[in-house]
């Protein structure tokens, strides 16, 4: 039992490192889309590992932790998608300031004609 708890503690430690990674990503990335990239992925895995670790230390808690994990796996990417769509709608460009790759622009034009841009609400 003790061994399992120690393994769980290390798994939780790994999870918290991923959470820290997400935080650093949100801190460092230059624009909102990229912040979202690190924010979504790293927090999902980090919390998954954290829950697995807690579940190893307390084996009778598996049910609720599993429910939490499933719930996070459905909702977290979905909220990221909705947020990305909203950002795109209000006209945030996904490109960095310096880079103007012509090839990238080609594919973007299809997207940018997708919706009219009226980004004055925010």
């Amino acid at each position: 039992m003790e061994i399992l708890a120690i393994i769980g503690a290390f798994v939780s430690l790994a999870g918290s490192l991923f959470l820290l990674l997400a935080a650093i990503g949100i801190f460092r990335m230059p624009d909102t889309y990229n912040r979202m990239q690190t924010g979504t992925k790293a927090t999902t895995l980090g919390s998954l590992l954290f829950f697995v670790g807690i579940g190893m230390a307390n084996p009778s808690w598996w049910g609720k932790l599993l429910a939490l994990t499933i719930f996070i796996f459905i909702t977290n990417p979905l909220s990221s998608h909705v947020l990305a769509r909203a950002l795109h709608f209000i006209g945030k460009s996904p490109l960095l300031k310096g880079s103007k790759d012509p090839d990238v622009r080609d594919d973007l034009e299809a997207v940018e004609s997708l919706e009219t841009k009226e980004g004055d609400l925010v």
Binding site: I74, T75, L78, V82, F89
Partner: protein, 237 residues
């Protein structure tokens, strides 16, 4: 400038007045007399594992009844304040009625459809287990309301049947009072849950009528909060 000075002065006075309250205090070692009574006898008395639930539903049940009345009054007030304005017909000059709202993405709609029954079941889980876990009628009602909200977010043109809401609200309110009266007739007093068998402590079917009362509160709170939010959504100015 002098106004701001007076404000700072007033806040400083409040802070100085509160200072001894916060500073000298230590962690209490013993409960107050009333709380001690509840903690010592609450579990044997009512059979509910969650003492907060015992207090909310039974010991201070009348408070909760009044509180639900306040909630109802607030819902009525919000409806009145918004419904005084007739929504303009779309197409009229200068109106930005519902038709200019953007519908949610297809994925959000699918996700909302998929999550809706699960969230309702989760809400029911919360208010049925009100006497065993930290949940309860208010939290469960909010979860029900937020499931409906998710549908409204996904599709902003969705029409909601307010008749159904009102029926649910009225029925659960009436049933709440009826259960209270049953307590008056078959047990010690109004809202006394002991007219049903106490059951085995810690199981789902225990604590007399507390799960029933909390479920009714949950349905009522859910209907009222849904009503508030949907009124604020529908009223195109």
């Amino acid at each position: 400038m002098i106004k701001r000075f007076i404000i700072v002065l007033a806040l400083a006075a409040i802070a100085v007045g509160l200072y001894p309250l916060a500073w000298g205090i230590q962690d209490a070692e013993i409960l107050t007399e009333v709380a001690n009574e509840y903690v010592e006898n609450g579990a044997d008395d009512l059979g509910a594992a969650n003492l907060v639930t015992s207090v909310v539903v039974s010991y201070r049940g009348l408070d909760t009844l009044g509180e639900i009345t306040v909630l109802f009054a607030a819902t009525a007030g919000v409806t009145m304040l918004f419904a005084a304005r007739k929504p303009k017909k779309s197409g009229q000059k200068g109106s930005l009625a519902d038709d200019s709202r953007r519908t949610g993405s297809e994925l959000l709609q699918t996700g909302a459809d998929f999550l809706f029954p699960i969230l309702w079941m989760f809400g029911m889980y919360i208010f049925v287990h009100g006497h065993l876990t930290p949940g309860g009628g208010f939290q469960g009602g909010v979860v029900l309301a937020s499931a409906v909200l998710l549908l409204l977010f996904a599709d902003s043109d969705r029409k909601m049947g307010h008749t159904l809401l009102q029926i649910a609200e009225a029925l659960s309110g009436a049933a709440y009072v009826a259960v209270g009266l049953l307590g008056l007739w078959f047990a010690a007093g109004f809202l006394d849950p002991r007219f049903l068998a106490a059951g085995e402590f810690g199981q789902l079917f225990s604590a007399g009528a507390i799960p029933v009362i909390y479920a009714l509160i949950g349905i009522k709170v859910g209907a009222e909060l849904t009503g508030i939010v949907d009124t604020m959504r529908r009223s195109a100015l």
